[in-house]
C-alpha cells in the first residue's frame, strides 16, 4: 500500500512531463489517423482503376507495407536518411512512416468491403449517367466506409497503441516519459503497468465512440 502511494506521488510530481508526453502521443495518433484515412481512401480509389499495370503497383504497395514491420521503415528514415543529408525530426519520420503504413491497411479494409458490395448498384449508377468519380463518391464510398467502420476504428486503436514505438526513434511521447519516470524511481513494474492502464483507458474511449458511430451510420439491411 505504501509502495502504491509512493508511486502515485512520483506520478504527481512528474505530472507535467507525463501530460506533455500524453499530448505528444495524442498529437501523433490523431495526425496519423487522419492522414492514414485520407491516404487509405486515395489508395483504395487507385485500386479501382481498370489499368492493369496501375493496379499491380497499387496492390504491391499495399501488400509490401502490410508485410514489412513499420519499425524498419522508421529506422530507415530516421537512421538511414541522414546518410543522404536528409534529417527529419522524429515527429516527421513518424508521421510519414505511419501514414504510408496505415494508408495501406485502410485501403485493404476498404477493398474487402468493396468486394462485398452489390455490383448492380454500381451498374445502375453508371446507367443513370454518373461519372466514375460520382459513382465513387456517391455510391461506392458511402457504403464502403460504413461497412469498414469496424476495421477503420480498429486501425485508430492500433494507431494509438503503435504510436508507442515512436519512442524508439527518440520521439518523446507518453511511453518515453514513462521510461524517464521509471529510470528515476526504479519502480519499473508500477510505471509500465501504469502506462498500460492509461493506454487501456484511451482505447476504451475510442471503442465507445466507435460503437456510437457504428450504430449511427448503420445502413438498414446491410451487414456491417
Amino acid at each position: 500500500m505504501m509502495a502504491l502511494t509512493d508511486f502515485l506521488r512520483d506520478v504527481g510530481n512528474d505530472s507535467a512531463l507525463l501530460l506533455g508526453g500524453l499530448r505528444s502521443t495524442l498529437l501523433l495518433a490523431t495526425t496519423i489517423s487522419i492522414t492514414g484515412f485520407v491516404g487509405g481512401v486515395l489508395v483504395f480509389f487507385c485500386t479501382l482503376t481498370s489499368n492493369r499495370i496501375g493496379r499491380y503497383w497499387v496492390e504491391s504497395y499495399i501488400s509490401f507495407f502490410i508485410g514489412t514491420p513499420l519499425l524498419v521503415l522508421l529506422f530507415l528514415m530516421y537512421y538511414g536518411l541522414p546518410q543522404w543529408g536528409v534529417r527529419l525530426s522524429p515527429l516527421w519520420v513518424s508521421i510519414i512512416g505511419f501514414t504510408l503504413n496505415v494508408a495501406a491497411y485502410n485501403a485493404r479494409y476498404l477493398t474487402t468491403a468493396y468486394r462485398g458490395l452489390d455490383t448492380g448498384e454500381l451498374e445502375a449508377a453508371r446507367a443513370q449517367g454518373f461519372t466514375s468519380w460520382q459513382v465513387f463518391t456517391l455510391i461506392t464510398l458511402p457504403q464502403v466506409l460504413r461497412l469498414s467502420i469496424p476495421g477503420l476504428t480498429n486501425q485508430v486503436i492500433l494507431n494509438l497503441k503503435d504510436s508507442s514505438i515512436a519512442f524508439l526513434i527518440q520521439y518523446t511521447e507518453f511511453f518515453a516519459q514513462i521510461q524517464e519516470l521509471s529510470a528515476r524511481n526504479f519502480k519499473f513494474f508500477q510505471a509500465y503497468l501504469f502506462a498500460g492502464i492509461v493506454y487501456l483507458g484511451l482505447v476504451s474511449v475510442i471503442v465507445l465512440i466507435a460503437r456510437h458511430l457504428e450504430a449511427k451510420c448503420m445502413i438498414p439491411g446491410v451487414r456491417g
Binding site: L71, V72, L193
Partner: protein, 217 residues
C-alpha cells in the same frame, strides 16, 4: 564489411526472427484455442472473465506489455528470459486477437450441424473437437494469416530485450558500416520475403485441408 558478411549476419538474425515469430504464434494459438474452447464449455461467468482478458490484451500496446514483463516482473522477483518475455507479451496478445478471429469463424459454423451432432449423442467436448473446431479453423484461415503477420511485424521488438534478430543485427551493422539506407532497405525486403513465405505456407495448409464446397472464396 563485405556484402556477404552483412548478408550472413542478417540471415543469422532471420533465424532468431523466425524463432521469435514461431514461439509467439504457438503461444497465441494455444491461448486462442483455449479461450474459445473454455467459452464453449463453461457458462457466462467464465466467458466474462475471458472477455476481460481479450479486452486487456488488445488494449495495451505490445511494447508496453513487453516492458512490463521483461523490465517490470524482475522487481517482483520473476525473471523471464527474453524469448519467454516475448511469448508472454506478443504471444498472449496474438492469442487475444486469435480468440476474436476464432469467435467470428465459430459464429459462421452451421448451428444445425452442431445440433445434429448433439442429437447423435456426442459429448459437448466431442462436438467442439470433431465438428466446430475443424470447420472454425478452415473458416479462420484468412484471419489467422493476418494475426501471424502481425506477430512477424512486431518481432523486431525483440531487439529491445536483447534478442539478436534481424532488426538488432541491422542496427549494429548500420552503426559500423554507416550504410543505413542500404541495410534497412535490405531488411525491409527480407521481412517481406518472410511474409511471402508465411502466405505461401498458409496457402499450402489451406489447400491440404480444403473441403470441396466448404468456405471456398
Amino acid at each position: 564489411m563485405r556484402f556477404s558478411g552483412i548478408l550472413a549476419l542478417l540471415l543469422e538474425g532471420a533465424g532468431y526472427t523466425l524463432l521469435v515469430t514461431v514461439s509467439c504464434v504457438i503461444t497465441g494459438l494455444v491461448t486462442g484455442l483455449g479461450i474459445v474452447a473454455l467459452r464453449r464449455l463453461f457458462g457466462k461467468g467464465v466467458a466474462r472473465l475471458l472477455a476481460l482478458y481479450t479486452y486487456v490484451f488488445r488494449g495495451i500496446p505490445v511494447l508496453v506489455l513487453l516492458f512490463i514483463v521483461f523490465f517490470g516482473l524482475p522487481g517482483l522477483g520473476i525473471r523471464p528470459s527474453p524469448l519467454v518475455s516475448m511469448m508472454l507479451s506478443l504471444g498472449l496478445v496474438c492469442g487475444a486477437y486469435l480468440a476474436e478471429v476464432f469467435r467470428g469463424a465459430l459464429d459462421a459454423v452451421d448451428p444445425h450441424e452442431i445440433i445434429a451432432a448433439e442429437v447423435m449423442g456426442l459429448s459437448r467436448l466431442q462436438v467442439i473437437l470433431s465438428i466446430e473446431f475443424p470447420q472454425m479453423l478452415r473458416l479462420a484461415v484468412p484471419g489467422m494469416l493476418n494475426e501471424f503477420t502481425t506477430v512477424l511485424k512486431y518481432s523486431p521488438f525483440g531487439y529491445t530485450v536483447g534478442i539478436p534478430e534481424i532488426t538488432k543485427q541491422a542496427m549494429a551493422l548500420a552503426s559500423t558500416t554507416l550504410r543505413g539506407i542500404e541495410i534497412y532497405t535490405a531488411v525491409g525486403v527480407l521481412y517481406f520475403g518472410i511474409y511471402q513465405l508465411l502466405c505461401l505456407l498458409m496457402r499450402m495448409i489451406e489447400r491440404k485441408f480444403r473441403v470441396p464446397g466448404f468456405a471456398t472464396q
